[in-house]
Structures are given as C-alpha cells and as structure tokens.
C-alpha cells in the first residue's frame, strides 16, 4: 500500500517538475508516434514478402511490438531514471538523504524518479496491443489473458531485479552505467520474435540481458505459444532474482560509507 502511495508521490513530483516544460509533451508524443510508425512500416515491408515470420502471423508480431513498446515505456518511465539517479547519488554521496528517510531504502531508490513523458509509450504500447488483439480475437481466451498478465509481472520483476543488481554494483565499482546502456541497445532485438535468432543470440538475450523475459515471453503467453516450462521458468527466475537483488542490496548498503558526509 505504501509502495503505491510513494509511487504516486514520485509521479506527482515528476508532473510538477515537468509541467514547466509542456512542449516536451508534444515532442515526446511526436517521437512515440514516429517510433510506432517506423515499427509498423518495417513490419509492412517484411510481411509484403511472407505470411508468417518464424511461425508468427503479422498481427501476432504487431502484438509483440505492442508489448515491446509497453515494457519499454515502463522501463523508461520508472526503472531507468530511478536507477540512473541512484548510481549518480552513490557517486555524489547524496544517497545519505534517502537512507535517513523512514521507509525502505530499496523501495525509495527504485521509484524515486518518474519520467512522466515516457508514460506516453505505455499508453501507445497498450493501444497497439488492444488493436492487435481485436484482430486476433478468436484465439485470446481468459487463460491466455491471465498468463499474459502473470508473465508481464514476472518479466517486469526480472527486468527490475536485473537493473537493481547492476546498479547496486555501483557500491563497489563507480562506473557501471555503461552496462545499462548496453541493455538499452540489446533491447532493440526484442522487437522481433526471439525464436528467429540463432541459439547463441537467443541465449544472450535470455540470460545475459533478460529481453526474452521482458517482451517475448509475455507475447508468447498472449498468443498461446507458451509452454509450462517457460511459464514456471519465468516465475522461478523472477523469484530468485528478486531475492538475489535484495540480498545484494543489503550487502551493498552496508558497504556504503557516504562519500560526501
């Protein structure tokens, strides 16, 4: 409950900070629409030459793109800005202010910064998803919708833990943001069904950077492709990573000595 309340506070601070720059809204909206148009036009070119891509129909890949934009929006709106702020605050020593607050520090750090314009991507991604689903209607039942929601949560937890683990490493190594930038550029690969890629690349996108769990697995759940192994695997991995990141956080925070203080 207090998580939601704190997230709401961060959101309001984000809104207040950004309302001074209202043109940013138009710019961001424009960029989101261009990004979406590019993705759809790219699909149109490819599907002009084929009916299915690695067993995925055009509308199913559109649904995948919807998930891609949606999850990208969540990462861009909360996870990425918060984690960047956290890494910065370890370097500058301003993490002290977070630690003195009477709430769980990991929670505070994880939602401290909300980039409200990125929320546009969440809306756009959701919209694309709904349109794609409407065109696929006969094959999406309650079971698929349920496992989709579950996999979206698991994917979110995995991506969040992944970022937190890397960001927590900044307690030991000062420069870690480069690894996070690599995630950004690898995320691009999630735009297409991961089953297309050769084994080594699929492995990298599943276990080195969890793009597969963030985008492909939820989309597979939605289109009825998910087998039990992947479902339980995703849930298991989400649980393990949440615990590991928590433990690492605790070890790290004990090590932090406040560079500025």
């Amino acid at each position: 409950m207090s998580t939601l309340r704190l997230l709401w506070v961060s959101f309001r601070v984000g809104v207040m900070g950004e309302l001074a720059y209202r043109v940013n809204f138009v710019v961001q909206l424009f960029q989101s629409i261009v990004g979406l148009g590019t993705a759809l036009a790219g699909l149109a070119v490819v599907f002009a030459y084929t009916d299915t891509l690695g067993g995925w129909q055009a509308d199913e890949v559109v649904a995948l793109v919807g998930v891609y934009i949606l999850v990208g929006g969540v990462i861009g709106a909360v996870i990425q800005p918060s984690m960047e702020e956290f890494i910065e605050s370890v370097r500058e020593g301003t993490l002290d202010y977070v630690l003195t607050k009477p709430e769980d520090a990991q929670l505070l750090v994880s939602i401290q910064e909300v980039d409200i314009w990125e929320l546009i991507d969440i809306v756009v991604g959701f919209g694309v998803l709904v349109v794609a689903l409407a065109r696929l209607d006969e094959r999406v039942g309650v079971a698929q919708a349920g496992s989709f929601a579950l996999m979206l949560l698991a994917g979110g937890a995995i991506v969040y833990s992944f970022w937190l683990i890397l960001a927590t490493l900044s307690f030991w190594f000062v420069r870690v943001e480069n690894i996070l930038v690599i995630f950004q550029s690898m995320y691009e690969a999630g735009r297409w069904p991961i089953s297309l890629y050769p084994g080594w690349l699929r492995f990298g996108l599943t276990f080195l950077v969890p793009v597969a769990f963030a985008v492909t697995v939820p989309a597979e759940a939605l289109t009825g492709r998910l087998d039990g192994t992947s479902l339980w695997g995703a849930l298991g991995l989400a649980g393990v990573l949440l615990v590991v990141s928590r433990l690492l956080w605790r070890t790290g925070i004990r090590r932090y000595s406040g560079a500025s203080a």
Partner: protein
C-alpha cells in the same frame, strides 16, 4: 595546405588520446552498429528460407552478404556529429572553436577518421566472425570491387556533409532530438539499412535515389555485391559528385547563418 596537414596530425593525436579514455562508450556504439544489421539479416534470411530461399532476387546467403557489407559501409560512413553539436551550442563549447583560424569542420573530419582507424579493424574481425556463422555468398565482379573503394570514400563525404549541415540545426533549436529521430527513420528506410532498396516499394526507391540517402550507404554495397551494371555504377558516381557539391554549398550557407545566430549560451 601544410598548416592544414599539421592540424590534422595534431587532431589525430588529440582524438586518439580522448578515445583511449572513453573506450567503453566506443564499444557501446559498436554494439548497436553490429546488432541492428544482424537482426535484419536474420529476419530477411528467415523470410527467404520460408519462400524457397528466394526473395526478390536474394537468397538467404545473399542477405547475409548484403547485411555484413552494410555493417562495414555503415560503420565507415557514420558520424556522431548530430548528437554532439547540440551539446556544443548549449554548453558554449563552440566559442573557442570560433576563434581558430580554420573552419571547424576540419577538426570533426580528423576526429571521425581517427575513431574509424581504431574501430574499423575490430568491425572487420566482427564481420568475418559473423560471416563464419551466417555463410554469406559473394559474387566476385573484379571491376566492381575496384570501384567499391572510391564509392565508399565518396559515400563517406556525402554523409558527412549532410549530417554536419543537419547538426547545425542546433543553432536554432535546443530540441534536436526529434529532428535526429526523423533523420534516422529516413536513413533506416531510404539508405538500405532495413532492407536492400530493391525490395522496397517503387516510390521509396525513387525517393531514395532522388535524395542523397541511397548514395550514402546503399550504393557502395550494391556495387561490391555485383548488383549494378557499369552504366548504373557511373550514374551512382555522378549522383555522389552532385551531392558532394550540394553538400559543400549547404555547409557553407548553413554555417554562416548559424554562426550569426549563435550567442554562446552558458559561456
């Protein structure tokens, strides 16, 4: 001329030293430049294999050859000036540059070439490694291979002039992000980065040839892969020459107008 040469040598040294400090950011740029062509290579090979290994004159091995050459051509011709210029204008970093007695484009050319000299061997090794995985099929046309090198050099010049002029938009607006994004979308579809242009709808092919896009990336690839007749190659070189002339004029005009509006914010 001698002075200019000395300037280049000096800029090489400075850029080299800077680059050694920022190795990680260089590697990150390169990951994106490798990953994107590899993704499209895989997508198009999948499409080809699904339709009897033949899509619009390309087999899956042809796609492998196309996108691996694209990777190299794109790397040789790319610039990062559109990201950097906004920063220069906003932070006032341009002010000392304006005091120098030579045109600032020379520093950027030297900087770009230094970076490429360091990263190109790595990119070539990466391309060879990927070649072992994806098994490209090269049709060897001797004259086309000879013509490839000048076409690549001219493509670099065209792209550099175009992107340098566009980067100057930062003089008039501090929101170049949206403009850059538009440009990258056009590059994706019109320069052959997403698919060989011959697979694109006719109107895109016409647009790509009428504008500089085809001549900045796609043309050297098509040439090396032996997909052009000698006459088409000559037309290509002509188009590159025209766009270099236009680009030089553009750089001159936009730079003059831009410097006049520049008021060194932050300096």
């Amino acid at each position: 001329m001698r002075a200019l040469l000395e300037l280049y040598v000096q800029q090489f040294k400075t850029s080299f030293a800077t680059m050694l400090q920022y190795r990680a950011s260089l590697v990150i740029w390169l990951i994106g430049q490798v990953l994107e062509p590899v993704i499209y290579l895989i997508v198009w090979s999948t499409v080809a294999r699904a339709s009897g290994d033949q899509v619009g004159g390309f087999t899956s091995a042809d796609f492998a050859a196309y996108f691996l050459v694209l990777m190299i051509v794109n790397h040789v011709t790319y610039t990062w000036i559109m990201y950097e210029f906004e920063y220069r204008v906003r932070e006032g970093g341009l002010s000392p540059v304006l005091l120098r007695p030579v045109h600032p484009i020379h520093n950027d050319v030297a900087d770009n070439l230094t970076s490429k000299m360091v990263s190109l061997p790595g990119m070539l090794l990466t391309a060879i490694g990927l070649g072992l995985i994806f098994r490209p099929d090269f049709r060897v046309v001797p004259w086309a291979i000879v013509a490839f090198i000048p076409s690549l050099a001219l493509a670099f010049v065209v792209r550099f002039l175009v992107e340098w002029s566009l980067a100057l938009a930062a003089f008039w607006t501090t929101r170049v992000g949206a403009l850059n994004q538009m440009y990258f979308v056009l590059m994706l579809f019109l320069s052959g980065q997403m698919a060989p242009l011959s697979l694109m709808p006719a109107w895109i092919q016409v647009t790509a040839s009428a504008l500089p896009f085809r001549w900045m990336v796609a043309f050297p690839i098509e040439l090396l892969l032996g997909r052009l007749t000698p006459a088409e190659a000559l037309i290509g070189f002509g188009a590159q020459a025209i766009w270099i002339a236009v680009g030089l004029g553009l750089v001159r005009i936009v730079w003059r107008a831009g410097v006049r509006t520049y008021s060194a914010v932050g300096a």
